[in-house]
C-alpha cells in the first residue's frame, strides 16, 4: 500500500551486492533483501525534501500575490493621485491653456497697493505682506463658463497661496469663482483675483483647478 506524501528518508544498512532492476511496467522497485534494522532519519534531509517537493508552489506564490493585491494597490494609487492637482496643463504656443471646457490665459499679474476698504479709504496691508492681482481671460465653450474652480498663485519656491485671503478682508476683494458675472453666452470674459505673498516672495504662475478635472490643473505662466 502506498501512502501519498509520506516519502521520507531512512538510514539503511549498507547493501551488499548489486541492486535488482524493477520489472518493466512495475510501479515499485524490487530491492535486494536487507538484513538489519531500518532507522528513520531526521532534520535536514526531510527539510530538503519539502523544499524540493514544493518548489513550484512556492514560486507560484509570487505571481499569485501580485494578482491578488495588484488591483487594490493600483486602485488606491489612482485614487490618491486623482485627489490632488499633480498634472499641469501648460499654455500652447499662443499662450492659451485649454482646460475644463474653456480656453484661458493670464492677462496680467502685478503687485498692487491700490486697495481701498469699505469706507473708501486706502486699505492698509499688514507689515511684511505684498498684495498681488491676477487677471485671467476666459473663452468658454459653454454659456456658463468655467464652474467650480479655485485659483492659486505659485511663488518661486513652489508654495501656493489661495485667492481672496483673510488678510485682505475688508478690502472687498474676496475670491469669486471662475464663472462670468452674468451669462456670458459663450463670449470671452475676464476675472480678477487677489493674493498675498510675503514681501520676499515673487509669483511665477497662477493655477486654475476644478475638481472634476483632477489630477490636471491649468498652469498660467506669468509673463
Amino acid at each position: 500500500m502506498t501512502w501519498p506524501g509520506e516519502v521520507e528518508t531512512a538510514v539503511l544498512p549498507r547493501i551488499e551486492g548489486p541492486a535488482v532492476a524493477s520489472p518493466e511496467g512495475a510501479e515499485t522497485a524490487v530491492l535486494p533483501r536487507i538484513d538489519g534494522p531500518v532507522v528513520a532519519s531526521t532534520g535536514d534531509a526531510a527539510a530538503r525534501g519539502w523544499w524540493r517537493r514544493n518548489r513550484w508552489g512556492v514560486l507560484a506564490l509570487l505571481p499569485a500575490l501580485a494578482l491578488a493585491l495588484g488591483p487594490a494597490v493600483r486602485q488606491g494609487y489612482e485614487q490618491m493621485t486623482r485627489a490632488e492637482p499633480r498634472r499641469a496643463v501648460v499654455p500652447g504656443p499662443d499662450g492659451w491653456v485649454t482646460y475644463a471646457g474653456s480656453r484661458m490665459r493670464l492677462a496680467e499679474l502685478t503687485s498692487t497697493t491700490e486697495l481701498t476698504g469699505r469706507d473708501g479709504r486706502p486699505f492698509p496691508l499688514p507689515a511684511g505682506v505684498r498684495a498681488w492681482r491676477a487677471t485671467v481671460l476666459f473663452e468658454p465653450d459653454t454659456p456658463e463658463g468655467v464652474v467650480g474652480c479655485s485659483v492659486w498663485l505659485e511663488d518661486s519656491d513652489g508654495r501656493l497661496s489661495s485667492a481672496g485671503p483673510a488678510e485682505l478682508l475688508g478690502a472687498g476683494v474676496l475670491a469669486g469663482g471662475c464663472g462670468p458675472e452674468r451669462d456670458a453666452g459663450g463670449r470671452p470674459y475676464e476675472k480678477v483675483f487677489y493674493f498675498v505673498l510675503p514681501e520676499s516672495s515673487s509669483p511665477v504662475a497662477a493655477r486654475v483647478v476644478t475638481t472634476s478635472m483632477l489630477p490636471r490643473y491649468a498652469q498660467l505662466s506669468a509673463g
Binding site: L12, G36, P37, G128, P198
Partner: protein
C-alpha cells in the same frame, strides 16, 4: 539478542547493532511504513487538539488587537512651549497662556462654571494655503477639551485661511474644568472631524499653580479675546 552468522557478536553503532565486518549504515531515501489504525486515530486527534488550541489562543489574541481608533490615530508631532512645531501642512508656536473667569468678544461677556484658558498661538501654512480647524487641550487624564464653540474663534476656524510664509497670531479660547487647568497640552490639526492618520501638533503648556487658577477665577474683569492678525515672522 539477534545472532549474526559467522561473527562473534554485534557491535553497537549509533544505536544500531552492526555485525562485525559489516559496513556502517548509510542514509538512503526510503518509504515510511504506513501507520497503524491506532496511530492514525491518534494523529487525527492530535490535529483536532491543535486546531482547538489555536482557536482558544487566537480568540483572546484577536481581542488584544489595537482598535481602529488606536491603529488610525493621528501622527502627533511634539513641540516645546515657545518653539516651532512643524507638521505636514502648518507650523505652530505657542506664545503665551492666560486664564480668566470671564471672556469678552465684540462687547459680549461670557462666563463659565470652570475657567477660560486663552492660548496665544502663531500659525503659518507650510507649502500651501490651509486652515487649522481643530484645537483642543488634553489634560492629564487624557481627556480632550475642544476649543469653545460659544464664541468666535478668530484663528482656528475654516474662515481663517493661512497663507504660506505669512504667520498669523491670535488666541484660541478653551473652557475647561478648574481642576484640570493645572497641566494641559495643546493639540492642533487641520481637519476638524476626520483626523485619522493625519498630522497633529502637540505642545505642552507651562504648568499653572492652583493659586494662579484661583486668582483667574476671582478676577471679575473679563479677558478680551485678541483678534488674529499677521504676526512677526
Amino acid at each position: 539478542m539477534t545472532a549474526w552468522p559467522g561473527d562473534q557478536g554485534p557491535a553497537e553503532t549509533a544505536g544500531l547493532r552492526v555485525p562485525p565486518g559489516a559496513q556502517p549504515p548509510v542514509e538512503v531515501p526510503g518509504h515510511q511504513a504506513p501507520p497503524r489504525r491506532l496511530a492514525r486515530i491518534g494523529s487525527r486527534l492530535g490535529v483536532g487538539v491543535l486546531v482547538l488550541a489555536a482557536l482558544a489562543v487566537g480568540g483572546p489574541l484577536a481581542a488584544l488587537r489595537p482598535t481602529s481608533d488606536v491603529r488610525e490615530r493621528p501622527f502627533v508631532q511634539q513641540g516645546g512651549f515657545g518653539e516651532l512645531a512643524s507638521v505636514r501642512t502648518f507650523e505652530a508656536t505657542v506664545v503665551s497662556v492666560r486664564g480668566a473667569a470671564k471672556v469678552s468678544q465684540r462687547g459680549r461677556v461670557y462666563d463659565t462654571a470652570g475657567v477660560w484658558v486663552l492660548v496665544r498661538v502663531r500659525l503659518s501654512a507650510t507649502d500651501e494655503a490651509t486652515t487649522v480647524n481643530y484645537a483642543a487641550l488634553r489634560d492629564e487624564r487624557e481627556r480632550s477639551h475642544q476649543q469653545t464653540a460659544r464664541l468666535e474663534q478668530p484663528l482656528t476656524s475654516s474662515s481663517r485661511t493661512l497663507q504660506p510664509g505669512i504667520p498669523v497670531e491670535g488666541e484660541i479660547v478653551f473652557e475647561v474644568p478648574r481642576d484640570t487647568a493645572t497641566r494641559l497640552w495643546l493639540r492642533l490639526a487641520q481637519p476638524v472631524l476626520d483626523r485619522r492618520m493625519d498630522a497633529m501638533a502637540e505642545v505642552p503648556l507651562l504648568p499653572v499653580p492652583r493659586s494662579t487658577i484661583d486668582r483667574w477665577s476671582a478676577d471679575p474683569a473679563p479677558a478680551v479675546v485678541t483678534p488674529a492678525k499677521v504676526g512677526p515672522p
